[in-house]
Symmetry: D2
Subunit: 258 residues, 4 copies
């Protein structure tokens, strides 16, 4: 039987009159969508249209909650108490759940965005806050988390199903964290290099860092990006490479995580 893998992307990041990314193209490539919920991007109308198109493409729906920061696109760290962070996450996820429900669909996973994700990957207390909030809202929700992160650990400890992802276009440090964007080589722009990066990690069943260090991990999903022409082509190339190697690309809802 063919191995199964998921491809996910951040979508629905337009806002009112402003457009971000090529969602239509990406929905033909990925199998699961992380949809902005209005805090870093997205508005109710963008959310509705993204949900509708994703459902028509048989792409599974995830909430992509963030710090409240349109101006900074959710990329700025913000000091928020655990109680407030949990409430913010539930608020955003619930908004998307209702929009999905009114379109005949269902939100089946949650993936934190930007600075919130970065903090949750390195800070176990914040990671636990997020995992507990997801569980309190709906324990059947899948937590989509970077492999080898505090967030993945906290999700497992909370008894959630956790999908482990790697990034096609981002390099890793030896501790398994993403290399910060400002460092040379942190973002992989070349399509062939991105495909090779993904292949290398899948073959090794491990995160492979810039220095070549391996951190063994299960890999359930590959995150690709959709802003910029090149990004869409990278995403497509990753999909084709996976298919060529015999992988079946499936939504998170079709997977086991074990």
């Amino acid at each position: 039987m063919n191995p199964i893998i998921n491809l996910n992307a951040d979508l629905g990041e337009s806002l009112g009159a402003w457009t971000m990314g090529d969602d239509a193209a990406m929905l033909g490539i990925v199998a699961s969508a992380n949809i902005a919920c209005g805090y870093h991007a997205g508005d109710p109308l963008v959310m509705k249209r993204t949900v509708r198109t994703a459902l028509a493409s048989a792409v599974s729906l995830g909430a992509h909650p963030a710090y409240p920061d349109l101006q900074g696109f959710g990329r700025r760290r913000m000091e928020v108490t655990g109680e407030e962070l949990a409430a913010m996450l539930i608020y955003q996820t619930g908004a998307l759940m209702a929009i999905a429900q009114s379109e005949g669909g269902r939100v089946t996973h949650v993936k934190p965005h930007g600075a919130l994700s970065n903090v949750a990957c390195a800070n176990l207390e914040v990671a636990h806050t997020i995992a507990q909030a997801v569980r309190r809202l709906d324990p059947t929700l899948i937590l989509l988390a970077p492999a080898a992160s505090c967030l993945a650990q906290a999700g497992a400890e909370a008894g959630l199903r956790v999908a482990l992802e790697i990034f096609a276009d981002r390099a890793y440090q030896d501790d398994g964290q993403l290399a910060p964007r400002r460092l040379p080589g942190a973002v992989i722009h070349d399509i062939d290099e991105a495909v090779a990066h993904v292949r290398r990690m899948l073959d090794a069943k491990a995160i492979v860092s810039l220095s070549g260090k391996r951190l063994p991990t299960r890999i359930d999903s590959i995150c690709v990006h959709g802003d910029g022409k090149e990004a869409v082509r990278t995403a497509r190339a990753v999909r084709e490479a996976l298919t060529a190697e015999g992988y079946r690309i499936a939504p998170l809802t079709d997977m086991d995580f074990a």
Copy 2:
């Protein structure tokens, strides 16, 4: 058997460091709460705390969606397309549903706020947009609407259960609409007068306008307000008068609407 009636109030209208109204007092008086959802007031933490206290008081939970306008407290009319209005209403209601769910409760009614309510009471097209959005989200939700309004009519036509409310502290025009706040006598400040106003309408089974005109209607609920010391005392006096006359005060979820 005693007649049954509902008392409702707008709650959870604080925001971050700012406090509005005396929610704790009001939750000891009313049986159903209309909870702000972050568009005109409220934030995720305020929503969570309001939900928690309401549940502890056996008060049923309603969403109180509004135009996106913190600065104007949702009291400014805004030109919004039907598609966007529906998406905004579902977004806000869903956010509260998730917070309620994570606290072990359920949102059981929806009541539009401020300018959005005023528009929906007089404009049948907007009223239909709201009623259809509620139905698409969850057809078991009760629509709490002013008696004799377009909103009530649209709710019935959409097949929703509609709870009809009158206002204890607001005078009516001959067409059944609220007299605008700027008119003398539009807002009833005297406690005894408010109680008499409610009694007169319940006895008449009708809205009774400033000029004495009667518009026969079923009355399921009485809306009381909670901002200001006097308002809380008025709300309490209305409750006591109803109890003295043999009414049982019940949450909307205990009622039939027929």
Copy 3:
């Protein structure tokens, strides 16, 4: 001596991670920029960069205040009292004045945006509120207003210098108001047609409506748009046509308005 005319465009309408229009291209075409002030678009960083580039291009700076509505891009009418509208306009204009000042420049005109402009063109009371607010802030500011509008009239009555503009890509009704966007022919997409439209009005020294009706008016400025490739080419074609006919394109600050 060559006749003199101004070309203006709305610029600085990006927001955080979202880009709108091709400001760099437009700053090589127009002589005056209407810069978003954060209420419908723009943020402090976008404003600063737009001011800096405009100054480097010898383009004069104007504030482009709007209703507070990022989600709706300032295109939704909103019920705001005169006192609050005046305060909002002064707030936005002042924010841009300070940014200009810190970059060694000066804001020399004000032009309302979107729905606020539409209301001010047809409603004399709102127009007076705007003109008085501008005058109270700084009576040397130029008011850039559509020709034959209430706003132009109110500006003149307030003793402001008023620059009268026509739109290159918008058709007019017989009363001199813009034809609403939803009507066929309201927006002129063809480049040659837009150039002919401008020429016809300059030759006639009048607004020329869809039906051919003429409303005589002074014309000080032509508004061109910059969102979309075609728009930039239209703007450039208008500039070239004007230059070919012997006009000198100048910033509003070089003009007389009499």
Copy 4:
């Protein structure tokens, strides 16, 4: 000749329908007002009314810029680049300058709010960003900064006039920073204790920490707070104690800072 000292307070922190503090009372006590600029509190109408009342009370006007965070009242640290922080500060200060100008007044000082102030007191790089932004906007603006802070140092190095303030109701650590609010004794609630705290520091011409350590400093101003009945009474008691000791209370604009 009598010694001269300033009393300042944070004012204009209401928002739309929400009220914060007793500004009217405080304007009869302090000589300089730090007015919220819409990022953590305040809106254009609140700003206008605060400016008008302050001018009528001969209280000098200062801008009180903050991180963009209404929900968190500007009390949450936020990761913002220096370039963006400078632009945000100029935006907010300019908005208030324009409102002051339209009311016949002038903004004469700047004092950062909440988390932004806390960061600027301990982080010299952020402090320099703020001081340089103030200087670039208007080098005659006074920077109101906590005594013994990085912000005060950066202001002096930028060539600004710097007014040094101490807090009547906050205890200090040995390094001169405010004791964090969560620590016991960090906030002084007792009126007599607050008055004694101020007197002790004025007599010692030094910050006096919780442990009794003294950090010699010039003291130009005393910051008092106005939210809560007790706070207003504390502010009044501080004023009366100063007057009784022969101090003349003056706006910052009457002072020398040397």
